[in-house]
Amino acid sequence: MRRYSSLLASLLVAIVAMGSTLTETALAQGDQPTDDEVNAVAKGLYCPVCENVPLDVCPTQACKQWRETIRDKLAQNWSQEQIEQYFVSQYGDRVLATPPASGLNWLVYLLPPVIFIAGAVILGGAIRSWRKVSRTVAQPADEPSADPYLERVEEELRRRD
């Protein structure tokens, strides 16, 4: 029991502590753009030559050089958008972490809500028609008791014992 209490306590302490860590930031490193500033941009880009690896965590030598390119651009006061566009012009749309909202790529943004709405309409239709069936079929007097759960447990016990 004590172990469970300490588990719960750890969980609560950790969740509460998390709120405060959000406001803290990493140390800056001199005048050059910091690694954190570089990584903040690199996180939104994918390694142009590796497969499905974000640029901020890619361990290859090529990616280290690309991160240095980002640092140089940041030092020249380029914005994140400009840097992303630079990489897109060099290596294509695949370097972006999400497809740009243009042309065929719109599908990837429009289809999810369409799928959701279509599914909801089908589900709603099914429930409506099955409720109609239920109303037309003579209903047994199964008005739930005050506690359907207990009724269920009791029924199960009667059946199994």
């Binding site: 588990l7 750890s10 969980l11 609560l12 950790a14 969740i15 509460v16 998390m18 709120g19 860590t21 959000l22 803290e24 990493a26 140390l27 910091t34 690694d35 954190d36 570089v38 990584n39 497969e51 499905n52 974000p54 965590v57 361990p59 294509g92 749309d93 695949r94 370097v95 972006l96 972490a97 999400t98 497809p99 042309g103 065929l104 790529n105 599908l107 990837v108 999810p112 799928i115 599914g119 589900l123 099914a126 429930i127 028609s129 099955w130 409720r131 069936v133 239920s134 209903q139 199964d142 739930p144 005050a146 506690d147 359907p148 759960y149 447990v153 009791e154 199960e156 016990l157 014992d161």
Partner: protein
Amino acid sequence: MIEGIGFAALVISFLLALYGAGAAAYGATRGRAEWVESARRAMLLSWPMISVAALAIILLLVGARYDIAYVAKVTSNSMPAYLKITALWGGQEGSLVFWSWLMAAFASAVGLRKWDRDRDLLPWVIVVTMITLAFFLSLIIFFENPFSRIWITAEGGQAFAFFRPEGAQAASPVDGQGLNPLLRHPGMIIHPPMLYLGFVAFVIPYAFAMAALITGRSDDRWIRVTRRWTLVAWLFLALGLILGGRWAYDVLGWGGYWGWDPVEIAAFMPWLAGTAFLHSVMVQEKKGMLKHWNMLLIILTYSLVLFGTFLTRSGVLSSVHAFAQSAIGPMFFAFIGISFVVSLWLLLKRWGELRGVNQINSIVSRESLFLVNNFLFIVILAVLFLGVIFPLVSELFTGQTVTVGPEWYERIVGPLFAGLLLLMGVAPLSAYGSSSWRTLGKLIWLPVAISLVIPALLLITGMRSAAAILGYWLASLVAIVTLYEFWRGASARHRRHGEILPVALVRMAGRNRRRYGGYVIHLGVVLMAFGIIGIEVFQTETQGTLARGEQLTLGRYVMVYEGLTRFNAEDGREISRAELSIYKDGRSVGKLFPRQDFYLVQNQPMTIPGVRSTLEEDLYVLLVGWEPIGQGGATFKIYHNPLVNFVWLGGVVFILGTLVAAWPDREPETVRRRSAHAQALPAGD
């Protein structure tokens, strides 16, 4: 010699599978029971035959037979023996043999069950399993032969073939390339077998479903027979996913466990379809509803199993798993398409006969909520499928490759998973049939009221992330409702039988393992949700380049760089290991040793984190680089991962819950005997 025996065993297995499928179909359509029995024996024989082939590969791997192309590709002299054995599933050819071996094992287990009640289903179960097996064996024999040798052609080039090409000489390399370094991890040794077990086990419920469609049985017998198979498949798939996550966390060095990689998603999709299926079959069993839907779900699950294997094995998508690229894609694609179309055709043929009693009395009844649950699972599945195939579609139609990364997935499926959490909090309190808003409200108000304490506390303590507050509230609601359900059931037994509460709890759970196992699974999901929200919303990171003695700070942690050592390991690694002193709130909490292993033969670096792990958080440090600056500096990346260990803890609870749900019931005779014995005992015993 060994390779000859292995290859012959594969060919015989292939012929047995073809014969089994043919003989079973012939026996069923002509009413010839002896043909069906012969097919069953062929099915039983396939497993020992493929075992011979698998054993032959293991002997070649352990025996360092580098003249065999597969052995040279996945092993090397420096590898320890256990890695050489597990290299059986470390490459394309071997893993296909391993898949087939598991498939044959499951088919044999099905063949050995008592078939008295379901004799009519047997031949068609054989047909489906043997066709699936024959397909995989054909891929191995004709495209991915693990017994192919390396030959030096007359022109001086290299060729890989089982039989000697004209004018070629056998090559005899003295060492191999060795296993992909990413796979040399305990998690990766166990992860693929678990995933394959999950994939393969789902073939069995699908085979029974098809058998039911072919024979025109519209009852739910196929569901009852395969209930445990489905749970076992689901268990292994879940275990595979969890182990895969752990492997990614330990080995891939990105500070997380789930990167929305297409191959990760490919393994997740059959799990989602299987989860929807596990919930909806309960509605069919209880209410005789959703017969068409359950057929569709199992067809979908089987197709997704094939699709998942296809993605992993064909290399059709670019991902970190793409080491398994090969030319078997079109074959796979055709097989998935044909089996999907044939399955749907069978379903449409029997559509009329499968009409159930689809009635819903209340929109808050258990069956209605299960329908909503299925809707959410299927929408998530469809969204994930879209995300996986969209880069291919884009490339096909525009020639432009795009990346669909974590941000897109999380933005869309995050709210849907929140909806599932809400359902997990509400559905256990609703009843089948006539649950009304009033009765549900009476039951749920108290858990909701208690659960609201959590978001209130979080707001008071300064948390302002709406997503996290909502997520923690929903997870708390699920936990409270689930524990409330345990308590209510146990106290009902306590009142009825006078059992003390712990005994009542155990007996209650034992009498309805599926329900209470399911609730334990829900608790596992709650713990995982706590961990996932923790790392997704509150993960912080920083990176810096330090000279010896300098420090880097992240939140309450300070990390001091003490030095770096470089040395060579016996297994062909050049290791660079940093030493760091870690302080939390100014107090020393130990040292960490993040390192980079550079595999010289494969020319591949591996970033192994140094991790300080406690229940509430991980400090996860990566050695990014060590370009000498000044007095020997190094670059480190630090992640603070709050609550990440709840993901693994939740995973363990999840698996335990699945084991409870899947645990076999006592034989009915035993139950009857025990119950008769109990009645004979004096009261109070």
